[in-house]
Symmetry: C2
Subunit: 302 residues, 2 copies
């Protein structure tokens, strides 16, 4: 069995986003605090005791405080159940939380060389002492078992695959897009084979993506936007979802309708996405198609 906790469900900026006055952000600040959501990250554990985070969001300190499973074990002066962080891309909303995991606790960072090179070239990440916090390259297609701080096996097996996406946008114009900028992950319990697929940034359902997801028992999938041009239509941005490397829900839902996926969960949901609002036609359409819009702290057993 795998235990999975949605630490945050929102896309970059979160809900509410600091400078956004859209209907969803305004409601989240005031009359509907239940709409609040921190930036996307999930925690996964094979033993319920040691946890690996998939991505480290800027909200990580708040997420850890709000998640009892991630609190230090009673009676220890320095401790964390967090044994490692798996990074699937180099965007700020996926890596900035690493800066909050300082203070001398050993854990592993697993990321593609493309993302490790970002960490290396940004000296601020040296707050994580490299003797305590190992940086380990992920190779697409090569399954690995992340280790616990004492070197013992975690009971998880992770295989990454290259997903259609784009490079971190603060590197646009500096670095070309290359395979490895965006990864999907297949995460398995070694004990019983239970598994899920994590693909929270994906620009299209290619034949390869469809094959990866086919008959998966549980999938976390890119839920950034409902409609490709919604941020333009709402006057929030000049960028389409495609330009940002994200397929729209209204395109993903039909593309994955016959995929045989067991449970389908959207993640990395932008504040512009009307599916965030319970009762909206978009939310109802997503739920009718078997998709879950999670809230922060939701636990899923697989």
């Amino acid at each position: 069995m795998l235990r999975i906790i949605v630490l945050g469900a929102a896309a970059g900026g979160g809900v509410p986003q600091w400078n956004c006055g859209c209907a969803v952000c305004s409601a989240a600040r005031n009359e509907q605090p239940e709409l609040r959501s921190t930036q996307a990250s999930v925690a996964v554990s094979a033993d319920g005791e040691h946890w690996f985070l998939i991505n480290a969001s800027p909200d990580i300190r708040q997420q850890i405080t709000d998640t009892p499973s991630l609190h230090p074990k009673g009676g220890k002066l320095r401790h964390s159940p967090i044994a490692g962080v798996i990074l699937t891309n180099g965007e700020v909303d996926a890596v900035a939380g690493l800066l909050s995991l300082r203070e001398g606790w050993p854990f592993e960072i697993h990321a593609h060389e493309r993302v490790l090179s970002i960490l290396k070239s940004n000296s601020i990440f040296n707050v994580l002492n490299p003797e305590l916090v190992k940086r380990i390259p992920i190779e697409a297609g090569a399954a690995f078992e992340p280790k616990l701080p004492d070197g013992s096996p975690s009971g998880l097996e992770i295989e990454a695959f290259e997903a259609p996406g784009k490079a971190a946008w603060y590197l646009e114009g500096i670095a070309d897009e290359q395979p490895g900028d965006t990864l999907g992950l297949v995460v398995r319990s070694k004990a019983d084979g239970d598994s899920f697929v994590f693909l929270a940034a994906c620009s299209m359902v290619t034949p390869d993506v469809a094959a990866r997801l086919r008959n998966a028992p549980l999938v976390f999938f890119d839920g950034t936007l409902w409609r490709d041009d919604e941020m333009i239509a709402q006057g929030l941005s000049r960028k389409t979802g495609q330009r940002m490397g994200h397929i729209a829900m209204e395109a993903a839902i039909p593309a994955l309708s016959d995929s045989g996926i067991g449970r389908k969960v959207f993640l990395h949901i932008n504040n512009s996405n009307p599916a965030l609002l319970p009762g909206s036609p978009e939310r109802e359409a997503a739920e009718a198609a078997g998709w879950l819009i999670p809230s922060d702290g939701m636990e899923i057993k697989q």
Copy 2:
């Protein structure tokens, strides 16, 4: 008049700190949530409408959400009352929050060249579009008036002075310590001359520091530790306060007892500091000496 809001009162890591099981952090997680505190930052405004942050803590998103004065103005799709950020050093707990101020809102960053060079050499800060977010060098001793996004005057006058401290520790061994690594600020309302001194990182009360603080109507002062060796004594670290560039409260209180300061507020208080606990002998000693231990969200008018 100046309005000042304590967005966060805690030192790096906050209370609770993610991997800390000390008495204060454990109580803050469980039976005493009122002990929770985010990482140090204050917001200041001369007009109650436009605000400048002193330092940008990793908890900035949570701090903005919790502070109605910093919410977007009603009826605007994209807006923030935040007109600028003044950085007093380059530590993670002072600069990481900049990464959360992305999304296309214009504001100014004011910092010493030493700190600007850190931002420049870390490409991740390019998420802040340099056309929208101007980086302006602070020169010690040269008073300046930060501008509002439309170019109009803010009504604030800020003069920085070099404080005894140390370089950001992730640069240790790479960069030598130099003047400008740690700044104190004198912040004045141009309209009526009301002012305060911000000096939340300071390793000793030198004659120059004493002169800066003498007869100041309001001072925010380094409150990291109660005792220089408390982190060693508690088994939390091998570093003294002096090694980290912080004077202990028990040394600062007598050193500033005859300084004629109007209101004395400690800031950047570490979770190891027993003065955090209401009713502790250390808290009572600090309060008896006229010092305030603030909580997040506290507003001070000056």
